[in-house]
């Protein structure tokens, strides 16, 4: 205890000295600077990041010039043909989400010109897709690629999740089924176009499609359908996907046309088959029991 008092006394001896204030100030500055330099990103790191982004954009531009510029123009400005048709739409301001959707689902690059680009196997690697998205995003501000937390239901109670599904169902039936059908099986659009089947579509692409409105689909921007509402639609689609087929085989969930085909092919087919069978097998009225004597 005595020893402790003595050392404390020594330490505090000069605290009222003339240089004490200066020393404290220096110490404070030193600590602030030290902490800043320890925690703040270094000039070098920031520069590195900027260089990486530039490199990504540059890499994306290289890919763009090879694979996309023919229709979309060298700077994504879009190309109109001489007869006023659009060869490729303007890409300024469509954002990274549009590129991620179009390239990720294989719709772009087109294999052939047509009414609509069908989804197919992705032509680029994931890194190349990222580079293309970065390049197109650099052309003008647009929606960024959404992340899983945008549509995840994590953190909600069971009750809230159930409510989200119910709400999502109503949004889906109001906004989506007119083209995509009540079960998301897809439907016909004019001139050979079609609203694709969305039952197997990955959550990220559903979200991006809503966000960017590819092709003839209207865009459901955040002001139109908020992030929570988009999340609910995805939750509804997932719940439908997970629920069993209560009524038996769904036959593609395409509505009454398929049911009519089943009626005629399976129903009438089988019953007429039975009618033929019944008419072909008639009772033998002269069959005798064993041991019966005919007089």
């Amino acid at each position: 205890m005595r020893l402790l008092n003595r050392s404390a006394g020594r330490l505090t001896r000069g605290r009222r000295g003339p240089l004490a204030g200066l020393v404290v100030l220096l110490l404070g500055l030193l600590m602030t600077g030290g902490l800043y330099s320890a925690f703040a990103p270094s000039q070098q790191a920031a520069a590195d990041q900027a260089t990486a982004d530039d490199e990504l954009v540059a890499q994306g531009r290289e890919l763009f010039l090879v694979g996309c510029a023919f229709c979309h123009g060298k700077n994504g400005e879009g190309i109109e043909t001489s007869d006023g048709q659009q060869l490729g739409p303007v890409l300024v301001g469509v954002g990274a989400a549009a590129v991620d959707f179009q390239v990720g689902t294989g719709r772009m690059p087109l294999a052939a010109p047509g009414q609509q680009g069908p989804s197919k196997k992705q032509a680029y690697s994931d890194e190349e897709r990222e580079a293309l998205a970065a390049y197109v995003a650099s052309l003008g501000p647009g929606p960024a690629i959404p992340s899983e937390q945008d549509w995840s239901l994590d953190g909600l109670t069971d009750e809230e999740q159930e409510e989200a599904v119910v709400r999502g169902g109503q949004i889906f039936l109001t906004n989506c089924t007119a083209c995509h059908n009540f079960a998301g099986s897809g439907g016909a659009m004019p001139e050979g176009g079609y609203a694709p089947n969305v039952r197997e579509t990955e959550e990220q692409y559903v979200y991006e499609a809503l966000l960017t409105g590819p092709g003839q689909m209207p865009s459901f921007s955040d002001g139109n359908l908020s992030q929570t509402e988009k999340r609910d639609v995805i939750a509804y689609l997932n719940s439908v996907d997970e629920s069993p087929d209560y009524g038996g085989l769904t036959l593609g969930s395409l509505g009454p046309v398929v049911d009519g085909a089943v009626t005629w092919v399976v129903g009438i087919g089988v019953l007429v088959g039975f009618a033929v069978w019944i008419a072909a097998h008639t009772t033998r009225t002269d069959r005798k029991k064993k041991g019966e004597v005919t007089t």
Binding site: V166, E191, G192, G248, I268
Partner: protein, 584 residues
């Protein structure tokens, strides 16, 4: 039929108190069996033995195509059974309730009571979904079977005198069945059925002058109102089933009264019916067929989803789904509506809209179709001037004009039907819905005409082939080589039954034109209609092949017999003779 005499007595009679004798011993009263006793008890009180004796022995001819109407009858029985089950839980009310049932993605929604009770029926009532789906599948089969049955009756000429009125009853049943199906489709009040009612509202409103009044009467105000579901329910479970039951009873009574038609064959004439008796053969066949129809319906109901109302969700005028179609039997008017040209046929004057683009395909066209069906037997009787009774059927090929007429109508129906599913066809086969529409607009007019011409020619060709087979035998596929090295195919005479079917028919003869003026030069008053009849008859009933005469047949048979004899002889000279005589 060579049953013993002792057996015979016990077998043939319903009453058990019958003396049995084998002819050698004196007869003795047999002790009655319990069944016989019960029958006797009932007969003493109800006096039904006379009618039963007659009807239980009623003979029906055997052919698979005579059982098609039974499919419709038995599906109707399935509809009655499953329908009664559904009424125990279904509530025909449009009152708003909060859904609190077992189907989670809809819990808490405000829905109509009709919809909520149908979802409850599907998820909370044991076996309810199976019953719902069976009811719906049975309805689809009911109308399909009626249509197939009608085709059989038409193509075989079974609607001719004296059965014209039964044909009319059949057409009315088809119309009632369709309306019954439509009202049932509307009851669950899900998105699809609501869309259907919405469309029906538009159809009613398209009727000139009375349209809007009729719509307001139907919905008790502007669509959707709060009355239509309960009204449709009354029509669906009371009015239409009552009418259908009555018409079915009349249909069956007339069937018994007229006796069943039969195919031509050995021993079959216009005056008799050859077949098996009601009891035990037909009772077993028809009764067994009921269980088959029930079983197939149950399998369909258990295996295939039909109208998943939980996926459609409750009806709300702001919602609609791609692939909104009516059930198949309303598909062809829907198709007509889909391909019918729009803008040039919608007029507006003095603030009144006249939607002929809706009225013609969906109201006028089906009405005309029903009238054509009703008129078919009478028109044919008028053209042919045939006043005889017909109990022997005709094969479709033996009446080329008749067959071609129905094939043309079927082609029209089928193409319209296709148009009703144009969007599903477009996405399934990667086609453009616009191109399908343009194609069908032409095809519904050209198709039936082509179908008529092709079918008529086809039938006449088949008649030629029949006559050829009858006169020269059928090709056996056995190649004979003569001693000279020539090859010929051996022909065998047709089996007797088949030969009868071909030879025993009326040749299809066009009606001769009456003289336009009588011997005094006075013009006949019926000339114009007679000329029309003559022209129609010449085209519909002309060009066919006459059945061979007795002399022709006998000559051909003698020739065939001679040929066989020669083939057997192995005589060189005879074979040469055969080679000369071979008609091909």
């Amino acid at each position: 039929m060579s049953t013993t005499e002792t057996n015979g007595a016990g077998q043939s009679s319903v009453a058990s108190q019958v003396a049995s004798t084998n002819g050698a011993k004196a007869s003795s009263a047999k002790k009655g069996s319990p069944v016989g006793k019960a029958a006797n008890w009932a007969d003493e009180r109800l006096g039904l033995a006379g009618a039963a004796k007659k009807n239980l022995r009623k003979v029906f001819p055997d052919h698979w195509s005579f059982m098609l109407g039974e499919i419709a009858l038995w599906s109707f029985v399935v509809l009655l059974i499953t329908g009664v089950f559904l009424t125990l839980w279904y509530r025909p009310s449009m009152a708003e309730v909060t859904y609190t049932g077992a189907y989670e993605p809809m819990r808490g929604l405000h829905v109509s009571e009709a919809f909520a009770s149908t979802v409850d029926l599907s998820f909370d009532v044991r076996g309810g979904l199976l019953m719902r789906q069976m009811h719906h599948w049975a309805a689809m089969l009911f109308i399909a079977a009626m249509l197939v049955h009608m085709m059989r009756v038409y193509f075989t000429g079974a609607y001719r005198k004296p059965r014209e009125l039964n044909w009319v009853i059949g057409v009315l049943l088809l119309v009632m069945g369709t309306l019954e199906g439509f009202t049932g489709y509307s009851l669950p009040d899900d998105m699809l059925s609501g869309t259907g009612i919405r469309a029906a509202d538009g159809f009613v409103k398209s009727i000139p002058v009375i349209g809007t009044y009729a719509s307001f009467f139907l919905f008790d105000g502007e669509f959707p109102g709060s009355a239509v579901i309960s009204r449709l329910y009354t029509v669906h479970v009371l009015l239409l089933p009552g009418l259908i039951l009555g018409l079915i009873a009349a249909h069956m009574l007339l069937l018994v009264y007229h006796k069943h038609t039969q195919w031509p064959g050995p021993g079959r004439t216009e005056q008799n019916v050859v077949g098996y008796p009601m009891l035990p053969v037909y009772a077993a066949k028809a009764g067994g067929f009921f269980f088959i129809v029930f079983g197939v319906t149950a399998l369909l109901g258990g295996l295939f989803t039909l109208n998943p109302i939980w996926a459609y969700g409750p009806y709300d005028p702001s919602k609609v789904t791609a692939g909104s179609q009516p059930d198949w039997y309303m598909g062809w008017p829907d198709g007509a509506l889909r391909i019918f040209p729009g803008p040039p046929l919608e007029y507006s004057f003095f603030g009144v809209t006249l939607s002929l683009n809706v009225f013609i395909p969906i109201i006028l066209l089906p009405t005309i179709a029903i009238l054509i069906l009703l008129a078919l037997p009478f028109v044919e009787a008028w053209i042919t001037k045939d006043k005889r009774e017909h109990h022997l059927l005709e094969r479709p090929r033996d009446a080329p004009g008749r067959t071609a007429t129905m094939v043309a109508l079927m082609t029209f129906y089928g193409l319209m039907w296709m148009a009703g599913g144009n969007d599903i066809i477009a996405i399934t086969f990667d086609l453009s819905i616009n191109q399908i529409t343009y194609f069908l607009r032409v095809a519904v007019i050209v198709g039936p005409i082509l179908a008529f011409i092709i079918t008529r020619r086809w039938c006449i060709s088949l008649q030629r082939k029949d006559k050829e087979d009858l006169l020269h035998g059928y090709e056996t596929g056995i190649i004979m080589r003569s001693a000279q090295g020539g090859f010929s195919e051996r022909h065998e005479p047709l089996p007797v039954g088949k030969a009868y079917a071909i030879a025993q028919r009326d040749p299809d003869r066009p009606v001769e034109l009456e003289r336009a003026t009588d011997e005094n030069g006075v013009p006949s008053p019926t000339t114009r209609s007679a000329r029309l009849r003559h022209r129609l008859s010449a085209y519909l009933h002309g060009g066919g092949v006459d059945t061979p005469t007795r002399a022709e047949l006998e000559k051909a048979h003698a020739h065939a017999a001679h040929e066989h004899e020669l083939e057997g002889s192995g005589d060189d000279r005879a074979l040469t003779a055969r080679g000369e005589n071979t008609p091909h």
